[in-house]
């Protein structure tokens, strides 16, 4: 069961924009595609959606070559798209029909989602029986309508390209709660985002892309574990500059909140702690932690760019 992408290659002229990307989503949940701008995420998504052809490789859904006509897919594009001058109701009805839904199901879905996303007053006519058009909405509300369009057919595979970009904190929370609901409904979700905290909140598996290549793939927890707890947050009441200088850490940064240290090996932490205690330093915070996704991303993309 699930989605299997195997060694897909896409070229535009002589430029390879996706170079042998492979990954699999075997169980319901959220899979993250990460990468800088131009890394090939959107092209990969378009290939999965069958929007563009590719040179080689395969995309399989439930062990069969993917055919968008056989799967109920919901797609929230990175660049939001609505007809600016058409009424929202007309557009949602149109999108629903294109997904093969009948009028009554579309109306039910519109009612449910407009209430859930708190946009009834925009979707339904006002007192003067006038329908609102997309260009009369704020960017955030347009994004809500776009999410409605993506989820209107209760899709089994959902692709969200930068779902939270441009949203205020309140609406971002609303979107997150909807994504959690979809996860609970055992949907297969592919999410692309630059917001690493969002990815960490939802995703169990990731692929980091750079220049069309996969530079890191796998289960997020295992990736973090493989790095070890080599990050150390240290805050003391005394000046410890001399003590710190005695160690050869991978990286040391001083912030108003203390030191942020990248260890070369985990044992350096114990050595530093002993040294601080021997010098009677008053320790406020001494915390070892795994690297964040943000740090892993920066490191991997940086390494890839150096090659």
């Amino acid at each position: 069961m699930g989605l299997k992408i195997n060694n897909i290659v896409k070229k535009y002229g002589d430029k390879t924009v996706v170079n042998g990307i492979s990954f699999a989503i075997d169980n319901p949940g959220v899979y993250a595609l990460l990468g800088t701008n131009g890394a090939g995420k959107t092209t990969t998504i378009r290939i999965i959606l069958g929007m563009i052809d590719y040179e080689s490789g395969s995309v399989k859904w439930n062990d069969k070559d993917i055919n968008a006509s056989d799967i109920n897919i919901g797609y929230l594009a990175e660049e939001r798209g609505l007809y600016p001058k058409y009424s929202l109701m007309d557009q949602l009805m149109y999108f629903g029909r294109l997904r093969g839904m009948n009028t009554s199901d579309i109306k039910k879905a519109i009612k449910y989602w407009s209430e859930r996303l708190e946009v009834e007053k925009y979707v339904y006519p006002d007192k003067k029986k006038k329908y609102m058009k997309a260009d009369q909405l704020s960017k955030g509300n347009q994004q809500k309508i776009q999410l409605m369009a993506a989820l209107i057919s209760n899709p089994e595979l959902i692709i969200l390209d930068e779902p939270l970009s441009g949203l205020d904190p309140v609406n971002a929370e609303l979107f997150k709660s909807i994504i959690h609901e979809e996860i609970n409904k055992e949907k297969y979700i592919i999410m692309s985002s630059h917001q690493m905290s969002t990815i960490e909140e939802f995703c169990s598996d990731i692929t980091i892309m750079n220049k069309g290549n996969a530079v890191l793939q796998g289960n997020l927890n295992e990736i973090k574990k493989s790095y070890g707890r080599i990050n150390l947050e240290l805050k003391c009441d005394n000046d410890i500059k001399d003590i710190i200088s005695r160690f050869e850490f991978a990286n040391t940064e001083y912030t108003p909140d203390g030191y942020s240290i990248r260890l070369r090996e985990e044992e350096q932490a114990m050595s530093l702690l002993k040294e601080l205690m021997n010098n009677n330093i008053d320790i406020v915070n001494f915390q070892r932690r795994e690297p964040s996704l943000h740090e892993i991303f920066i490191e991997k993309v940086g390494e890839s760019n150096e090659k």
Binding site: A68, Y75, A77, L82
Partner: protein, 437 residues
């Protein structure tokens, strides 16, 4: 879900939303008002024209000066030509000739016609005239109608039979018309021709602008990404072209209804006669199933050809504002087709069959402006009409295939406006991809 069935959804959405747009509502209203007002305007200006030339005189205009009558009927029509000197034909001269006379020689380079009557199981009347001169097929049509009208009076005078009996005989009159000279067909009234070309220009301009704007808007707003996961690009563009085309044609139908309603309510006798003569004259038209089919197929595929070109122009830009540049090729093709047709029609050149005029009738860019109207009036041979239809259908199919190859790539393209060579490159890449696969 990506399928071919989305065509109806795309078509109906395009049709309804295009009709809802303020621009279309305003244009439709203006067209209807103009169509409704045109009849009173023609009446008004027509009336002032009558100060110098009264309508009766105009109606009495007759290009036929003399009729060479060869009466082989044996019932004595040649002895009763006075009955055929009535109304606008009162000054017409009749010369009785024997069947040994060469009819073509008699009428060649003259405004005279040759009329031969004979009787088989019915009364046969054959007309021969030179269409290189001033006599038109319309003149002969009118004169033959006049002869048919008068035939019962001639029969009554000869046989003394009742009018009821005459009505039965009247049905059995068989008319045959022939013309001599180099022409194989006779031209269409210039105002009818120019009106048709103008209507086609307006339809193609409105269609082209609406389609290209719609495609460019879907592309610039990125709605296209949502649409193409549900329907194939070719279904999308086809639904859009046919949807917009239907709206524009509906506009013209609405305007036509206004025009005829106005003619019925406001038209004076002259206007009604002109409409009956040039627009609703089914006798002067070649209304057969095959002909109507040929005309409809040519018209529809012609508009599809131009619609697809407009769709390509829309897909070649990333912003609606850049449409002006990409629509240049469309406009140039439209102008070339329309002006070539206008020149050939107004100069009368199209009435002579030469390789150039045959090419104009068949070549899709010009044929849309010429062939349908010439076919409707039966002024072009069925062979040429079929050839024009075939050429147009093939062009439409080739263009649809071409568009299907490049449209998909172009609609995701963001950047500078694509030029013709870029579009061809897209097409070549796509063909190469398919070959490699």
């Amino acid at each position: 879900m990506k399928n071919n069935k989305g065509f109806l959804d795309v078509f109906s959405f395009t049709f309804i939303q295009t009709f809802k747009s303020k621009a279309i509502i305003i244009v439709t209203a203006v067209l209807c008002v103009l169509a409704f007002a045109s009849v009173p305007m023609v009446n008004h200006f027509g009336a002032s024209d009558e100060n110098t030339r009264n309508e009766d005189e105009k109606n009495n205009e007759n290009s036929i000066k003399k009729v060479f009558l060869c009466d082989k009927s044996g019932i004595g029509i040649d002895k009763n030509t006075d009955i055929l000197q009535d109304g606008k034909y009162k000054n017409i001269k009749y010369e009785i000739v024997s069947e040994k006379e060469d009819a073509k020689k008699l009428v060649k380079n003259t405004n005279n016609i040759y009329m031969m009557t004979s009787v088989t199981d019915r009364i046969n009347i054959e007309f021969i005239y030179d269409d290189n001169k001033d006599i038109t097929s319309m003149d002969v049509d009118e004169y033959s109608d006049f002869v048919c009208e008068k035939m019962p009076d001639i029969e009554k005078k000869i046989f003394g039979i009742t009018k009821e009996q005459n009505k039965i005989i009247e049905k059995n009159i068989n008319i045959e018309k022939k013309w001599i000279g180099q022409k194989t067909h006779k031209g269409i009234n210039n105002s009818v021709m120019m009106s048709y070309i103008c209507i086609i220009i307006i339809i193609l301009t409105l269609c082209g602008e609406t389609i290209s704007t719609s495609v460019a808007m879907e592309k610039s707003t990125r709605v296209i990404e949502y649409l193409t996961i549900n329907v194939k690009p070719i279904v999308l563009i086809s639904g859009k072209v046919i949807g917009v085309m239907s709206v524009i044609i509906s506009q013209f139908l609405a305007a036509s209804v206004c025009f005829f309603a106005s003619a019925q309510m406001n038209g004076n006798q002259g206007t009604k006669k002109a409409i009956a003569k040039y627009v609703l004259n089914s006798e002067s038209m070649n209304i057969s199933f095959v002909n109507v089919l040929i005309v409809l197929v040519t018209l529809i595929s012609g508009v599809i050809v131009f619609g697809m070109l407009a769709g390509l122009a829309g897909a070649a830009v990333s912003r609606v504002e850049a449409l002006g540049e990409s629509m240049k090729i469309y406009s140039i093709i439209l102008v070339i087709g329309a002006y070539a047709a206008m020149f050939l029609a107004s100069s009368g050149e199209i009435n002579t069959l030469t390789p150039k005029t045959i090419a104009a009738f068949i070549f899709p860019v010009t044929s849309l402006f010429l062939t349908p109207v010439y076919a409707v009036f039966g002024k072009v041979s069925i062979t040429i009409a079929i050839a024009a239809m075939t050429a147009m259908v093939i062009t439409a199919i080739v263009l649809v295939i071409f568009v299907s190859k490049v449209y998909e790539g172009m609609i995701y393209y963001k950047g500078e406006t694509l030029r013709l060579k870029d579009i061809i490159t897209f097409s070549k890449d796509k063909i190469k991809e398919e070959r490699d696969v």
